[in-house]
């Protein structure tokens, strides 16, 4: 998704509609992030004690998974952008491999989150346990749904690459889906230190 030219692209990658969605999502999560940070001031001890019940290791592994998955999606887009009419088949095939790897990692993220949620719910924790867990569950469950939607989008892009559906002139759909997947990663990059680490 990078260009070596100094000339600026007139529009962000993909369909502009996805960027409207991205901006709205950023605003929504900004309210939740800052809501968490300011609510913590009223009950620092409860927030710090509750945070100790979370697995920092699973948060760390999931961050690595999403970063790497996002990187694989960048490589898939690069494969398509670099293709010529002669290399369309091999470029789509290469993009399909990158996308399948990204989808696998996204799925792994969900599996780890399910284990984490079952551990939390197994301790009898729910939305009304305290303010920390209300924010933790709201943020992570909301993000979880975004990962699921992202995976559905990536799967559809993968299917199109399998049909050699992207051409030199038409790969905007792939960039649109990729932009959404990077949003999912961007949100987690802030969520991980905020909820799991900073105290």
């Amino acid at each position: 998704m990078t260009k070596s030219s100094n000339i600026k692209e007139p529009h962000p990658p993909g369909d502009f509609a996805i960027w409207i969605i991205i901006y709205v999502e950023l605003l929504t999560f900004a309210l939740l992030f800052t809501g968490y940070a300011f609510s913590r001031r009223a009950d620092v001890e409860v927030f710090n004690a509750s945070q100790l019940l979370l697995s920092q290791t699973s948060g760390f592994i999931n961050t690595l998974i999403l970063i790497t998955s996002s990187y694989f999606v960048v490589k898939a887009v690069q494969s398509i952008k670099d293709m010529t009419e002669q290399t369309a088949k091999s470029a789509n095939s290469s993009a399909a491999k990158w996308l399948l790897s990204a989808i696998f990692l996204g799925f792994l993220f969900l599996v780890i989150k399910v284990f984490e949620f079952s551990h939390i719910f197994g301790m009898g924790i729910h939305l009304s346990t305290n303010t920390f867990f209300m924010f933790y569950l709201l943020l992570t469950l909301f993000h979880f749904m975004h990962v699921m939607l992202g995976l559905i989008i990536l799967w559809n892009i993968y299917q199109k690459t399998k049909r050699v559906g992207y051409t030199v002139d038409d790969y905007s759909g792939m960039e649109t889906g990729a932009s959404y997947w990077h949003l999912v990663d961007l949100l987690w990059i802030i969520l991980f230190p905020l909820i799991y680490i900073i105290r």
Binding site: M1, Y23, T63, L64, D185
Partner: protein, 87 residues
Amino acid sequence: MPNLKNIVEIVWLILVLLTLFTFLLGLFNTINTSIVAVLLISTFIKAQLLIDYFMGLKNVRLRYRIIPSFWLFIVISLIATAYYYPI
């Protein structure tokens, strides 16, 4: 200077290293008020790298790039305010 196309590999490596740094600080329970600032700066760098090189906004007109970058600046600043500004 590395080709921009290969920069994504370097960016991925920086993201992994900064994530490891964040995790180790938490693991060894070294979080205090000064470390919070370091962690927030590290988070800002990671998110900005992702916006520029993974989302591909580095070479897009400023009016589009500035929106997520400004969002990031505001969010990190508000979190820092919540942690540092006395009640």
